[in-house]
Symmetry: C2
Subunit: 205 residues, 2 copies
């Protein structure tokens, strides 16, 4: 991963600095992001946590970033209109970059509806450190599953700019993997992701 130019200038004295390669040797895997995208209630977060669990059991250093730990903290000042969504993904992208630089396998579960935003994160962290997983599920089934009742509110117009109802979702054109979450169970979906991590040579186990 390219170092930030300002950082590069500054750290010329720290020849022995801990860098991405040294972290990868310690952790026995490289840093990267497994980026889930899909509608609300499509199953992203459930699969993401299952993947983390499996990787943790394999002694990987992992973390899940999702609405629960980001939307109420770092991005707690942002709403859901297009400009706030853009800033939301920008901050998430910058945090992902830090986590990947720190050597973790970070697993994100955000709707992330816009192709250009996902592409921006991919370019920033580097394509060798980025995997895009599309959790594909019909909006009708997401609405049926939705235990929080937010689809119902969106359909009644009580929530504005709701992805899939009143705001667009742009599916990935070439995801690394598509999971049809109405057809596979969580274990099978997670196994497919782990296989992908292995074939991409992220693990030195």
């Amino acid at each position: 991963m390219a170092k930030h130019s300002v950082r590069s200038e500054h750290v010329t004295w720290f020849d022995g600095d801990v860098n991405h390669s040294k972290r990868a040797v310690l952790n026995r895997h490289k840093g990267g992001v497994i980026w889930f995208t899909g509608l609300s209630a499509s199953g992203k977060s459930t699969i993401a946590h299952k993947v983390e669990h499996t990787l943790h059991d394999m002694k990987c250093v992992t973390y899940v970033l999702d609405g629960d730990n980001v939307r109420h903290g770092l991005c707690g000042d942002l709403g859901f209109d297009e400009s706030d969504r853009k800033e939301n993904i920008r901050r998430i992208g910058e945090v992902v970059k830090l986590f990947v630089d720190a050597g973790l396998i970070v697993i994100t579960a955000f709707i992330s509806p816009y192709r250009k935003d996902r592409q921006w994160v991919k370019e920033m962290v580097g394509s060798d450190h980025f995997m895009e997983i599309f959790v594909d599920c019909p909006v009708s089934l997401c609405a049926e599953r939705d235990w929080k009742g937010i689809y119902d509110k969106a359909m009644k117009g009580q929530i504005k700019n709701f992805t899939g109802i009143s705001a667009p979702y742009e599916p990935p054109e070439c995801p690394d993997l598509t999971i049809r979450s109405e057809k596979v169970d969580v274990e099978t979906a997670a196994d497919q992701v782990i296989q992908l991590v292995k074939t991409h040579n992220w693990l030195f186990l």
Copy 2:
């Protein structure tokens, strides 16, 4: 560390979730932040990187957050007036919380001039996961050392709101450690920090 209430509600299904304790067992240390505070050019970043290097050699999972990797990325949209400094530290605090939750020993090197901001971070991550290190150095010596020439610009009024010249610095009242960087070398300073990490029982080595 207390879990976010919303997260707690949501993850009742994920009984096997990877949590802070499980990460600590894998890493053989708990997550926490070593928070350096002090004037620009006082030596924070140099000592922080030395501490990271030593901890990395001890097989700890570490990361340094400083102006170089935060100010140009996550906080690239912010300036230096009081409200932007507040938002800067708020975002850094939220990112630190994520890193600590992820089980890392994160080492921060920000001027962080206001007591209440540092206190806010301490309360948020939990006092058992927070150490405050004051890098104490006279402003005249910081200005002398300053290879970037920013003190010179600040004294000429070309940079506004510059801590120690035209903006206040509030030294910690009860830091976990004070390093007088004009009197000790980097190795000695870093050793003092490592001793502190050991006496606080952060390491299970």
